[in-house]
């Protein structure tokens, strides 16, 4: 189990995350939902342990062990993985080598994974993970990379952004693939088609968990209330 306890995070004077508690268990699918700018990606980065995202308060526990002080590399090695909202580009690195990442890996396994994310292996293995890939293609390569890491906890930040409607089914398929592997999937999204496929949801507003519970309930609340609300400071205004 991965647990966030009373996490706060500030950038300069700006408190972006204002004390949140969350729990994620392996084999389940979670959703973090909320409008633009409420702090969803920030939560993902804090869990992953990016260098600029050390919480100012609170702790993160993995199977009861406090990992708040663990480095990015150590967290990755303990089974946490992140699908970036906007993955970085790399000159001179082929899709094949990017997915392999210095590991011994059968070519077939890479090819199978590319097929799973709707990329034709013969067309993509030799391409570079550079600026020439389209946004959607790059995102799919990143998805394949996450799958090959076989994480215990995978944070998927807007898995559908930049990806065509046709591939929405693919995303749902990948989420189920992770679930079958026994991973905990944490999906960050504002798309209800994706959220509805998750088991448990956290609705974020202004850096706080505003509501949490069964996804269907949360999504219907979100649709009714937040969709046309637009502001991110609901709590302050109350």
């Amino acid at each position: 189990m991965l647990e966030l306890r009373d996490i706060k995070y500030s950038k300069g004077d700006n408190e972006i995350i204002k004390g949140i508690n969350m729990k994620f268990e392996e084999g389940n699918v979670y959703c973090i939902i909320g409008n633009n700018g409420v702090g969803k990606s920030t939560i993902g980065y804090i869990i992953m342990g990016l260098s600029d995202y050390r919480p100012s308060q609170g702790n993160i526990f993995l199977d009861g062990k406090d990992i708040t002080e663990l480095s990015l590399t150590e967290r990755a090695k303990s089974g946490i993985s992140l699908l970036w909202q906007e993955p970085a580009r790399f000159d001179g690195i082929t899709v094949e080598n990017y997915l392999k990442l210095n590991r011994d890996m059968k070519k077939e396994e890479i090819e199978e994974t590319l097929k799973l994310v709707n990329l034709e292996p013969s067309r993509y293995m030799r391409r570079y993970v550079d600026k020439k890939l389209s946004g959607g293609e790059r995102k799919k390569v990143e998805l394949a990379s996450c799958i090959l890491l076989k994480p215990k906890y995978v944070i998927m930040d807007e898995p559908d952004s930049g990806i065509d409607i046709m591939s929405l089914d693919m995303i749902v398929k990948v989420i189920n693939h992770f679930k079958k592997m026994g991973s905990a999937v944490i999906v960050i999204t504002h798309r209800k088609e994706i959220a509805i496929n998750c088991g448990y949801s956290y609705l974020i507003c202004a850096g706080k968990v505003f509501l949490d519970g069964e996804s269907k309930k949360i999504v219907s609340y979100y649709e009714k209330t937040c969709d046309n609300c637009g502001h991110v400071n609901y709590l302050e205004e109350e």
């Binding site: 690195i93 080598n97 990442l101 890491l149």
Partner: protein, 319 residues
């Protein structure tokens, strides 16, 4: 292959070093055009149909090589230029003169094998004229001694005639640089295109100077000059890229990326764009700094250490 009498051993030795470094076994093949120079002596020559090679060794040590390729010649297998130096110290001065006809297709692979020297000045000056509608590529790969005593200077002047394409790759990434000074000065006529790329990995107290000049003199000519330098330890690297847009619809792009590691490196880049025609368009991109943090963290989030991630990124940039 004509191997000069009395130089069979030097020929063998150079070919062996080359094969060991590259896994390429084509040098001995009779169908491959080759020029093999050891020290101040041309030790092996092999020509193919449509190509003429003449060499001359002067008493003062200068080696002159003329390469001529007839119009309409297509050479399917790369032409190998292998220059090596097997003594411990000295000077190697080479002057190449290329005249390439029209409608020619040829690829040159140059390798400079200087793995056994302690102190050497290798100076290579080349002039190349490429006729019309030809397609020429030139790859230059260097293998130097790890002691850093090699000083390489390569000066290339070129004129690319109408409708021709030229690309060059200069790589010194696998072994120590020592000191290197690369100058490429290219004139492009109407509809000509050039694509220049250099990649250099500096270690210890290596000194790197690169100058690439694109003279876009012909209408609709275009060129890209791109340099990537990875500077570590006490490397000193200085890159100058210039592009001159002198004709309508000429397009030029120069790019220099210098990645630095450590606090004792000294690197600089100096781009110069000069437009003499209001329909010409020139752009440049430059960066000097450490490895991109987001790229590093992307890989560390997959379990690589910072060192491993940096190596992975740099290998890509220099490949």
């Amino acid at each position: 292959m004509d191997i000069v009498k009395g130089y069979e051993k030097e020929f063998e030795e150079l070919v062996e070093i080359y094969e060991k470094n590259t896994n390429d076994k084509s040098l001995r093949s009779p169908g491959v055009a080759t020029i093999i120079v050891s020290g101040n002596k041309v030790v092996g020559l092999n020509s193919v149909k449509g190509m003429h090679i003449k060499s001359k060794e002067r008493a003062d040590g200068l080696v002159m090589i003329d390469v001529e390729i007839e119009d309409n010649t297509i050479i399917p297998i790369p032409v190998h230029l292998c220059t090596g130096f097997l003594k411990k110290r000295g000077e190697q001065i080479l002057k190449f003169n290329y005249i390439i006809g029209s409608n020619v297709k040829v690829k040159f692979k140059s390798h400079c094998i200087l793995t056994k020297v302690e102190k050497l000045h290798h100076y290579m000056e080349s002039d190349m004229y490429i006729g019309k509608n030809s397609f020429v590529t030139y790859e230059d790969e260097h293998f130097h001694d790890e002691g850093g005593g090699v000083f390489v200077e390569t000066i290339t002047r070129m004129k690319i005639d109408e409708g021709s394409f030229f690309s060059s790759k200069f790589y010194e990434t696998k072994t120590r640089v020592g000191r290197i000074n690369v100058v490429m000065d290219i004139e492009l006529l109407k509809d000509a295109k050039a694509d220049l790329e250099s990649k250099i990995y500096g270690r210890e107290d290596d000194i790197i100077d690169i100058k690439e000049v694109l003279r876009l003199n012909g209408e609709n000519s275009s060129g890209i000059a791109k340099s990537t330098v990875f500077a570590t330890d006490r490397t000193n690297a200085h890159v100058v890229n210039e592009a001159y847009g002198n004709a309508p619809y000429a397009r030029g792009h120069i790019e220099c990326n210098e990645i630095v590691k450590g606090n004792s490196v000294e690197v600089s880049t100096l781009p110069l764009l000069k437009v003499m025609n209001d329909k010409a368009e020139l752009t440049h991109e430059a960066s000097v700094g450490r490895i991109n943090q987001v790229q590093l963290e992307t890989l560390m989030a997959k379990g690589l250490t910072e060192e491993e991630a940096a190596e992975f990124i740099v290998n890509g940039l220099l490949s």
